[in-house]
Symmetry: C2
Subunit: 266 residues, 2 copies
């Protein structure tokens, strides 16, 4: 009996540690995304450097979570909800690591954007960045508090991010068409926008996992997602001038990923 | 004793099934990347459709692997190498799912590229695509055969992919500078190139895991990686004409990811 109590207590301690490491990962990636966007839109090179410097810590935490998970699986033989939580942690840290990686990738583009984006309005990017940062903050709250209501909010809010991406994509291609000097910085900004959109997708993945972990149910699969664009769906006078009468088709399918049923423990 | 034999046999059967599912995932993603590139460079719309249609199967296999892994962890309490293999499977399927996703994303860009890339030479993209497909095939072989020598080859070969990406990136931005009508298709091709580069990174991640799983050691961390570029490192007459005398800096740091030590089981 004493032994059993000891085991349970150790397991609880380890589970607490696992959650704390995930919370730390979430908070660091949130900080990274904020810094990376400040670097791009407010021209703060020190913020860029800081976002990049934080990345190895995120990678190290992913490895630490994996090591602890293996240890817990080997020594505690967890079952049911405990087992599912540990497996979910292995997957969630994969998404968090990607978010940190995309944030660092954005930060690395800051130097050239600052240098050459003098004529390019960054309002659209600021809007998209604000939405993504808000959603990451919400996702971290949902994750730390294991809160399915917040998780559902994250999932719904991703639609606005996708819509903002569509708008921004069109805007940037238009600037490139208007003036060839915009091509260099706008190419960088297109990648920044795409990375932000991917960060939003990973936050949504995490939200889906939190929702499933707590409720045992999948999120409703019918969320109407925002239209994703390729250049094919861009219209407007500037573009039309270069189109030579070719038709433009919307690519509605891209990025459409309804939440899939999660596997359940036996 | 009879019971014990029964348990071991069931575990072996399940492990065999787990490996078969991962092999199937690897082979499908290899097929997806091949189809997606045919769609782009050989203008085959049916190949694009096929690459996209295969994606849900990859996603389903990732979930099946997770469900089986949870089942094995719950019922068999595996230890040591068996436990590490199951945890590695959960991580590797994450990388395979990303590869499938990037391939589908490439395929979705095929329509506009086919329609508007008439004047753009696709030789550079064909070269990069060939290297990526070869490396995916090698990675699948390394994974299925748990072969550390092949895994090391995958890891080394990624350098050539990175170098080809650098070349292609410069080439595409140059075409955009030369003629504004190239901006639309070249923007798509830039994303295609970036997706291929990411596919290469995920193949390398898998190779590192296979190497560690078999040898218990990490790959040497000193591999000299190919230079990654942003537009900042692009030179050439066409670009210079638009540069207004601004300096160009190389961004050598981007994407630099030495293999990190893997956690070991207790």
């Amino acid at each position: 009996m004493a032994d059993n109590t000891h085991t349970v207590t150790s397991f609880e301690t380890e589970l607490h540690k696992l959650r704390a490491m995930m919370a730390e990962m979430g908070e660091i990636t949130q900080q990274q995304v904020t810094l990376a966007l400040d670097a791009i839109t407010e021209h703060e090179p020190e913020a860029a450097q800081k976002a990049i410097t934080l990345d190895p810590r995120v990678d190290a935490l992913e490895r630490d979570v994996e090591a602890l998970a293996i240890r817990m699986l080997a020594l505690r033989s967890p079952m049911g909800a405990d087992l599912r939580e540990i497996v979910a942690a292995l997957k969630i840290t994969g998404d968090l690591e990607r978010i940190g990686d995309y944030a660092a990738s954005i930060a690395k583009r800051a130097a050239i954007v600052s240098e050459e984006s003098g004529n390019i309005p960054l309002g659209g990017l600021r809007n998209m960045g604000r939405l993504v940062i808000e959603n990451i903050a919400l996702m971290v709250k949902a994750l730390v508090g294991q809160n399915p209501t917040l998780a559902l909010e994250v999932w719904h809010a991703d639609r606005a991010i996708d819509e903002q991406y569509t708008t921004l994509f069109r805007e940037l291609v238009t600037y490139m068409m208007e003036d060839a000097r915009n091509i260099r910085p706008c190419t960088e900004l297109l990648f920044v926008a795409r990375n932000l959109e991917r960060i939003g997708d990973h936050a949504t993945n995490i939200a889906e996992r939190v929702f499933y972990a707590v409720t045992g149910e999948n999120m409703p699969a019918s969320r109407p997602k925002g239209r994703k664009v390729t250049t094919a769906s861009i219209t407007g006078e500037v573009l039309a001038a270069h189109q030579d009468g070719q038709s433009a088709k919307a690519d509605d399918a891209e990025g459409e990923q309804p939440p899939a049923p999660r596997p359940s423990a036996p």
